[in-house]
Amino acid sequence: MYEVTPDVISIEEVTNKVVRPEAGAIVNFIGTVREFTKGKRTLSLTYEAYPAMAKKQLERIGNEIQGKWPDAKVAIAHRTGKLAISDIAVVIAVSTPHRKDAYEANEYAIERIKQIVPIWKKEKWEDGEEWIGDQLEKTNYPDGKPEEVKAP
């Protein structure tokens, strides 16, 4: 149900993992590579993962969701490697008997992915490239390390 993969992600395939007779609603989140962020043009993204831990953390998110929405079933696939504009980086599928829960649990999953799953993205622009530094997508590491770091 949880996958970190260098291969193209199929929305249908991830969705099919959560289809079941008890479910009447499935909500998917599909993260794609956006061309412009705050006016700056992205050429490509590269995702690097710590695969074994990333899979474990995705499972943890699934367990957290099970605790909060016991009727939900979750599947997540996150891609690694170099992605072009509009390529799919992540697919989250959540099925529930009733739709409200599916929206909520799905949004919870993407928030948590951005907090705890060891996957990093490097943005490539026309004038350079940088590792993106925090899960809120607000900080860049212009010289390859977090800005807020002080000498220990």
């Binding site: 690097e48 993962a49 996150h78 993407i110 060891p118 996957i119 990093w120 490097k122 590491y141 390859g144």
Partner: protein
């Protein structure tokens, strides 16, 4: 010896995807201090994972554990 995996900007900065500390057992906090001294990396925003779980500063790390430095993540 404890082997520590590195990713993303850290991997590029170090020019290698793992670094080592000549210890058999120490705490996460001590490990970070060792790495700072040995490799001149700044560790304030790094988390340490031990056997694929986030570890606390007082948790211990033993030779044979799978250890990794986790910069702030940016997946999704």
């Amino acid at each position: 010896m404890i082997t520590v995996q590195c990713f993303a900007h850290l991997r590029e900065q170090l020019g290698q995807d793992q670094i080592t500390v000549e210890k058999e057992k120490l705490t996460v906090k001590e490990l970070l201090k060792e790495l700072t001294d040995q490799y001149a990396i700044q560790t304030d925003s790094l988390m340490v994972a031990v056997n694929e779980e986030y570890a606390e500063p007082e948790d211990s790390v033993t030779k044979g554990d799978r250890v990794a430095l986790i910069p702030p993540v940016s997946g999704g």
